[in-house]
């Protein structure tokens, strides 16, 4: 059996009134043969037992009551106990913001801050065409924005500030490599470093600013549990080696 990825968009709230949903930046990754995980890009990643993963999947698809009934039948336990276990799991994940009812509104000061950061970066890009300077600025602002405002506001704000150009140009591999090289060189010289999401966002932003089609990708490795972020300019993987990125199971794509 293959590893299954369930996101908020791939499995919307069921018809049952007590159905739960994953947040827009959360995913459930199930390996029937091993460990499973819940990913919350706005928070943390969580290891989940096989039983927990099955219960969660059921709750997402069929709602709380039906899942508790099915679990009770399958494991030969009282329905009240199955329901209590399930409620504990749902409550825990809801408290962490992984599960929610309805869409995440996403308003507040953190969004505004991220929009300001994105705007400042856009201003710097207007002032200079130097790839090296753009890369340095993009990495710095990415670091600050993620640290101060978090994943979701940063991604949403930067995608809005650097939209994909209509009729985006064909990707010249040399141009993509130049952006990749500039970001890597800047990250390599930075003694504080730049992690994968900062590099990916920097490449994404520089590509979009240059009128190139770009996307951001999040992948997960289950063993051990970990995530990775990279960008693509067209079909070309940038900000990291394609070979390394291929070792992660794609979960989210932002374009």
């Amino acid at each position: 059996m293959q590893i299954e990825v369930i996101t908020g968009s791939s499995m919307g709230s069921g018809d049952a009134p007590d159905a739960v949903a994953l947040g827009p930046h959360a995913a459930l990754v199930l390996d029937p043969a091993g460990a499973s995980a819940v990913l919350d890009m706005a928070g943390n990643f969580y290891g989940v037992s096989a039983l927990g993963a099955a219960l969660l999947k059921g709750a997402l698809r069929f709602g709380r009551e039906a899942t508790a009934r099915a679990a009770a039948r399958r494991f030969g336990i009282p329905e009240e106990r199955a329901a209590a276990d399930l409620d504990r799991l749902i409550g825990d994940l809801s408290a962490r913001g992984v599960l929610r009812r309805g869409d995440d509104a996403g308003t507040g000061r953190s969004d505004g801050g991220a929009r300001i950061a994105a705007g400042l970066l856009a201003g710097i890009f207007r002032l200079t065409g130097s790839a090296a300077l753009r890369a340095r600025a993009a990495l710095l602002f990415a670091r600050l924005s993620f640290a101060l405002f978090g994943w979701r506001p940063t991604i949403d704000a930067w995608r809005a500030r650097f939209p994909e150009a209509e009729g985006a140009r064909r990707v010249d591999p040399a141009e993509a490599r130049a952006i990749d090289g500039a970001v890597r060189a800047s990250a390599a010289r930075n003694w504080m470093g730049a992690d994968c999401k900062e590099r990916a966002l920097a490449c994404f932003t520089m590509a979009r600013a240059a009128g190139l089609p770009a996307s951001l990708h999040i992948g997960v490795a289950l063993y051990p549990l970990g995530g990775h972020c990279w960008a693509r300019i067209g079909d070309i993987v940038v900000s990291d080696d394609a070979e390394r990125c291929n070792r992660f199971l794609p979960v989210f794509r932002y374009a």
Partner: protein, 615 residues
């Protein structure tokens, strides 16, 4: 049960027997010889026989076997004649005239040698059981258990202690002389890697690679015997060995590959195997890896003489040996041993830092960062700074303040797992040993690079699978990359050439570039077996929990804590380097659990020289 030969000198008589090698193929794993009143017994294979025959000149043996050659060498050169032997072997000579037994092992410890005394009597064997039987009483050596828990990634073949009190190990690259008359035992370690380091004499990579290639070809050639199978993973090492063997052998060479169709991370390895097999002339055989889970350990549990390093992957090792025997092969070539000396860890950064060349160290780390899409500190810290930190701090400040202990989420190879009882850790000196090994690893030589390489060699010597699994099947496992002539050259090369970011095993890639498809040499990293490990752990969790509950580990482990760690590890949420302690602990628990059955299991022995010679 493990297999091999034993020599028991008791009440003036010497009895030589073969153990647990039934059937013609398995029995042939042990060779014997007699000449001039002396007897020799050998398990394994000698290499570079022609060189030794040339040195023997007129003393060359009439008989063709390896035991005869070893005996001839002893007769010509005495104990030094045993030291001169090359190969993957354990050997013993019974010399009635000198009233002594002389035994030796190769420098990488292909087969173990255990020995003990009881009054004026003496026993020596390549399998632990006859030595234990000779001794009578057996008691677990708790210090050895503590060592295995702390340094469990090591085969511990450099330690004279074994898992049983009173039973000693002949360490690798050493010779033992047992005086049967006077009762004295003299163990002489004749092999010194540092002294034998072979400097290529140049920094030119192509020249060094040519020298490496020549030695690798010789190492393979010397190991071709009978029907040959080569383990073939699609990685650089095993592929190079298999392709060299194919070129050198007049007979077909079989390539054995474990392939995965479902396992994430490993199912993508198949194209590399396909690329290497295509047009190679190798006879391909494929085993399904999806059917072999890590930690698979079918009941009744297989019996091992000592705790098994890498217990979790024994299923794969066993499957390969069984498949090798199944196709009628006598020799299994592997790619084992290349990583220790050709791997890519840039410890030269620590030597730069230690030498005050900080600017250069930073420039190098920046270069690594750029190529690996990381920041410089991600390379400089583990390879340039940490090796120079005092040993007591290397495992972390918190661990240092906690007597070496660390919680599961902060475990690393140098910390004591939280489920080990403090009393046991104190009694067996686990913390002190950890610090000693740390110092040896990074400060054991003139350079961190050499020190680390020597530690890798020391800790990977020994091979439990040969005597337990392969030999009873009539298969000799051969590791060309562990040929000492190649290894001493590779050690010298480590001091001349630096690993390069973005390139796997620069030396091997360059040495074998005409052989290996670019698809393989161009890879940055191989697929990992992490998924196999964790899926196997999840699958076998009930069995492992039962093992922990039933094994006699009181006083060693806090059982509930170990069980909790086992369940948490199955979720795969912690760093990989924290798993070592759990693996070692499971190996210990399993060994202790099976020890009573090991003690009672049948040990099938056959006399090798039916007329017992008085000594």
């Amino acid at each position: 049960m493990s297999s091999g030969f034993s020599i028991v000198a008791e009440r003036g008589e010497v009895r030589v027997r073969r153990h647990n090698l039934e059937g013609a193929r398995a029995a042939a794993m042990v060779d014997t010889a007699e000449a001039g009143g002396l007897r020799a017994v050998l398990i394994g294979r000698l290499t570079y026989r022609d060189d030794l025959l040339a040195a023997l000149g007129g003393h060359a043996p009439v008989a063709a076997g390896d035991a005869a050659l070893a005996l001839a060498s002893y007769r010509a050169f005495g104990v030094t004649g045993i030291e001169r032997l090359e190969g993957e072997y354990a050997v013993a000579v019974i010399d009635p005239a000198e009233r002594r037994v002389v035994a030796g092992r190769d420098p990488m410890g292909a087969y173990p040698v255990y020995w003990t005394r009881r009054g004026g009597d003496f026993a020596l064997a390549t399998t632990l059981r006859p030595v234990a039987d000779f001794r009578g009483d057996i008691e677990v050596d708790r210090r050895f258990v503590g060592e295995k828990l702390m340094i469990g990634f090591s085969q511990l073949d450099y330690r004279t202690a074994t898992g049983l009190r009173g039973v000693s190990r002949l360490v690798t690259g050493a010779v033992l002389v047992a005086d049967l008359a006077g009762g004295g035992i003299d163990v002489r370690r004749h092999w010194d890697w540092t002294a034998r380091l072979d400097d290529p004499g140049t920094d030119d990579l192509d020249a060094i690679a040519a020298g490496y290639r020549a030695r690798l070809e010789a190492a393979v050639r010397e190991r071709l015997s009978g029907t040959v199978a080569a383990h073939f993973s699609g990685g650089m090492d095993s592929t190079a060995v298999a392709l060299i063997a194919r070129r050198q052998s007049a007979r077909p060479v079989h390539a054995l590959s474990i392939v995965y169709e479902r396992l994430f991370g490993l199912k993508d390895e198949t194209p590399y195997i396909d690329a290497a097999i295509a047009g190679s002339g190798l006879v391909p055989h494929r085993l399904s890896g999806d059917a072999i889970a890590d930690f698979d350990d079918p009941e009744p549990l297989r019996l091992y003489d000592e705790p098994v390093t890498g217990l979790y992957q024994t299923g794969r090792d066993i499957a390969l040996s069984v498949a090798t025997a199944g196709i009628g092969a006598d020799t299994a070539l592997t790619g084992v041993g290349a990583d220790e000396l050709a791997a890519d860890a840039p410890y030269y950064l620590a030597d730069l830092v230690r030498g005050g060349r900080w600017r250069e160290a930073w420039a190098e780390a920046t270069h690594w960062g750029r190529e690996n899409a990381t920041n410089p500190m991600r390379t400089l810290r583990p390879f340039g700074v940490e090796p120079l930190v005092p040993a007591f701090l290397q495992a972390g400040l918190r661990a240092a303040l906690a007597g070496g202990f660390a919680p599961l989420s902060r475990q690393n190879p140098w910390t004591i797992p939280p489920w080990v009882t403090r009393e046991f850790a104190r009694e067996t000196g686990m913390r002190a040993r950890s610090l000693e090994v740390l110092r040896e690893t990074f400060r054991g030589g003139d350079s961190v690079v050499l020190s680390h390489a020597l530690a890798a060699v020391r800790h990977t010597a020994g091979d439990i699978m040969r005597s337990h699994v392969a030999a009873p099947l009539g298969v000799h496992i051969a590791h060309p990359f562990r040929d000492p002539r190649l290894m001493t050259y590779a050690l010298g090369a480590r001091l001349r050439i630096r690993p390069r970011p973005g390139e796997q095993k620069v030396l091997i890639a360059r040495a074998a570039r005409d052989l290996l498809p670019e698809k393989i040499t161009g890879r940055r990293e191989k697929g990992s077996f992490n998924a196999a490990f964790f899926q196997g752990l999840n699958k076998n969790l009930p069995h492992l929990e039962r093992l922990v509950e039933e094994a006699p580990v009181d006083g060693i482990f806090d059982r509930p804590e170990l069980l909790a760690a086992l369940r948490r590890t199955a979720l795969a949420v912690d760093q990989l380097r924290g798993i070592n302690g759990l693996n070692h602990s499971l190996a210990i628990a399993r060994w202790l659990h099976t020890l009573p059955r090991w003690r009672e299991a049948p040990d099938v022995a056959t006399d090798l020289f039916p007329d017992q010679a008085p000594v």
